[in-house]
Symmetry: D2
Subunit: 337 residues, 4 copies
């Protein structure tokens, strides 16, 4: 049977996790906990072999569980992961990892101390689109990176406990950090709440760097149209990444500009060029399958997964800074290095 | 012949101004000044009746000129407009009006003192798309406004003297101010220069209000794709305004959300709905024709044009604040009320 | 338990049929037959309550089966349906109904004779998009119909036994017949085979009428892009139906033209107008759920389903004529009335 | 001054011809004839050096004219071109060349006899999009051609004397003949008139070949949307040519399929693959400029232009066959070889 997985939380994302862990070799989901009886009944019908319970403790204490997958609201992540790690279980947490930097750091220490795998489900890091872009940046096809400009907007699915940046930006921040080696130094963010509970449903964030690279994020739960688009500019090529396209997700533009100083006129002349466009064929493997595979293999061979706890912490670090900036009228908030 | 127009500057926009003023009744362009002989020769061929000169002063001093149209770089606007007003000429200035608030205010005072028309060419205020949106907002079809989110990006046409916000955002700021009655209170902006001259080619701006309305602008000269899109959200309808669409520029979504407090769970429940979409037929009249017409008619009947000097000043006010914010790491800059 | 369904064929479409019949009230799928053991094992895992067999006869002879759903290749439809009807079972057949008109007529007679429901799964007739278009035509919003122009092309999924018209056009022919009351009188078709087996992978068909209405179909298995689009023209409005759009499937254009005879010039003057566009919100109910529901309810209350056997026959009639036309170099083939 | 051009007809296309001939070296437009005084006044204003007349004969008899450009309705082409050739003038005719094959042949003989250049304005043959596709076909990138599928539909601009095929299809037929070396053998066409004058405003045409290549054309003046799209399939690559795209007109898909005979099953197995997409940068030179240049240079160096009279005749040949097919209920009409 291999590694025995316990899944906590069977809401929106839980069924996808369950299905993809069930497809793994040397691994089985043995237990699922959820407070809602109706959700558990669904599992009983579809997967009669999986034990279900309303008691998280029952699951955490079960000797039938080697590793825990946490798919519950953010504010519960820390307590659940801490308990699991203390009981010697490996842990995979849904993004965002925790509600604070301190919590994330505590979990990392706990995992290291106990020699356990601690992973965060930043699913996008396992997509073929992101892999293709990483490749094009690593081999210098794109050239020196200049900007990352992400728009992730749609209607609905308001979260009751976290704002739109905490809900939507983790995807794009994890992609940014994965593609760009330079570490960010500070964050500015602005936003607004239209729901009277102070939770922003529209927010904008700029992430600043020592170099002349800049990253910007536009997130909204109140757009009439759904957009999932990121522009990535290098001094050799520019990329448009549109996640809503079925087959043409990544378009690479042989586009750029050169600048030179015109000494006579004391001006800067900018010369731009446009060229061919190239759309690579991408693999259609489901990314979440690879997430589950990486978790299982990391446990089996005691290696760090791609979407490691450090990846999760780096995302939380930026989210926390963004929240502080929004609450301070957009002022620059430095990131701890 | 009616009103006699002198045009200063025959670069990118000058030919369009010349053509549209030539089409007006009770009006003629009599004089064009440009420092480049080649440009003037083009006019001689196309419009043999128009006098041309390399000397701006010759044009300003001519008794054949009642009103001046200024289509030169921004840093020259103030001096040219000041001279023209002092000589008793009505003035239409290309956007942005001036390089500072003080300059714009000085010109306004001068125009009032001399009883002259002072107008700024914010062309978008004369498009049928903006008129349709204004109508839908005024008659409460859209409901209480919640956000304005504009993206104006493309490749190239770097300006040597002003940054990308000064170049591209005047369009969207003038639209924002025209559509929204509430006055903005402050601005945050971030940006970056990739051209070693400190002039930002990528910039982001948030405009803040006393209410829960928010406006955001994304401007770039270094995008591989051209985008001209604004989302406008009201609590009854939402609008997508795509200026690149040939015939479907304005799409009105019967889309919205309601929020209510769920006392038991101490949470906010948000319920959203999607409905029909409506795309109104728009008139295809060239906007610049209407700009010229408004200038001529405002002179003839001594009335304020739609795109008045005050409209131009309000735009400059926001641009100046944005520049200050960028240079101060994105900090909030209050707007003078 | 209500009506007991036996499903024959568990290939591409079978799982969707099984799932949707399982969701019905007063109905259960009791038996599935397929020659491939692997396919049956899938059912055993997902639906342990359903009996499976490799023997169609076992299923047809079972007293646990009141009605049969046939989801096998076209050339098997007639024999299976005939046997089922002879054994007193109601029958739902996948489209296209049969490989010949004679077969379809025989089945209809058999069903009438035995008082059984015979239905064909023309799924599109149960979509909200088609219902909306039917409504707009019935209430004369669209006006007198003038043309129906359908394109259904994509790459792949070559069928080994039927050509691309038999594979793809049944969808559009059933929609055409549903929306248009007038009966077609003849068919022209052309096509080509690139697969050396004489089975056309590209084909074009015109369906002719007594009036000045015309219908055209463009079908291909060898297009690099997927298109599912139909233009429907009336003398008051025109419709673009794009089935690949997630939320904007049906766009109604207030577009038209008028013609008048200019007697002096002995010419025809045509005046066209363009107007608003309207995109109605459509229900998101799965169409196949409604197909299953109509079958079950038709059996229960002994009524004709929307997608009746006559609907299926009318489609086969056109397909047979098209095939004859292709094999005779595109000559007009009259339809039996 | 070089070659002296006389232009007959100053309607929709005339101004474009005038402008582009004016831009040529070693060439000048000296004379324009049009029956409408108003049209001629426009020329007097814009080009005071050009003589204008309402008398075609005056223009044809002028010693100031070496070559004639005919931009009048189709039914007038033959008489005008014949007269011009008889008077020793070179001739460029707007597409379609003539209203019959016999007329086109007569003109060709006349031109040969007198050693004059006779050219037809098939503008598309001078676009960079078509050149790029020709290149990709010639160097075998696309492989063996399998189909050409063109859609050219929009609303309006009904012609009073020719049907929609004669109006719109010449573009696509000239492209087809230019890209495909094999000669077509026959034509099928269907269509309908909604204007009571028997002139089809919707029409479909299939062009047949000895090999398994096929071409199809969909033309309409009564579509609510404008489409200018051609799919070209080869056994190595497939091309989507969308003339409405500003910068992405030609998309090349590394897409294809293989077929093999499965002897055991007596079936054909088809395996398809999808791959990268490539969008080449195209030159933005105005095609009509190159048409004018080719005419002038062909006269100067007595060579055949790309868009020769034979090209024009081949197009007329297909149009005449299509019309005969439509009037005979779509029956196959053989092309003279």
């Amino acid at each position: 049977m291999g590694i025995k997985i316990g899944l906590i939380g069977y809401g929106y994302w839980g069924p996808n996790l369950l299905r993809n862990f069930m497809r793994q070799k040397d691994c089985a989901v043995t237990y699922v906990a959820d407070s809602r009886v109706q959700r558990l009944q669904l599992i009983n019908e579809l997967y009669p072999s999986v034990k279900t319970t309303q008691s998280v403790d029952e699951l955490l204490n079960s000797s039938d569980v080697d590793a825990i997958v946490i798919a519950t609201p953010v504010f519960t992540h820390f307590d659940l992961a801490k308990k699991a790690l203390e009981k010697g279980k490996h842990v995979l947490i849904e993004k965002p990892m925790t509600a604070s930097v301190k919590e994330a750091e505590h979990l990392i220490n706990e995992a290291v101390k106990n020699g356990l795998i601690l992973m965060v489900d930043h699913t996008y890091l396992y997509t073929s689109a992101i892999h293709k872009m990483k490749e094009l940046i690593s081999d210098d096809t794109v050239g020196k990176l200049q900007y990352f400009d992400s728009t992730r907007i749609n209607l609905g699915l308001f979260q009751p406990d976290i704002n739109v940046l905490w809900d939507l930006a983790p995807h794009d921040i994890s992609i940014l950090n994965y593609l760009v080696e330079e570490k960010p130094i500070s964050v500015n963010a602005t936003g607004i709440s239209h729901t009277k509970n102070g939770i922003e449903n529209v927010a904008y964030m700029t992430v600043n760097y020592q170099s002349d690279f800049i990253a910007h994020f536009n997130c909204s739960w109140t757009s009439p149209v759904k957009v999932r688009q990121t522009l990535i500019g290098g001094d050799k090529k520019m990329i448009v990444y549109n996640d809503l396209e079925a087959t043409e997700k990544v378009k690479i533009y042989d586009t750029g500009f050169n600048h030179q100083t015109d000494e006579e006129k004391e001006g800067i002349l900018v010369d731009y060029r446009t060229g061919d466009i190239y759309i690579p064929k991408l693999s259609e493997l489901e990314a979440l399958y690879s997430v589950a595979k990486d978790f299982v293999e990391s446990i089996a061979s005691n290696k760090q997964p791609i979407s490691s706890a450090q990846v999760g912490l780096d995302v939380v670090n930026i989210l926390v800074a963004a929240q502080e900036s929004i609450k301070n009228n957009g002022k620059e908030v430095k990131l701890k290095s």
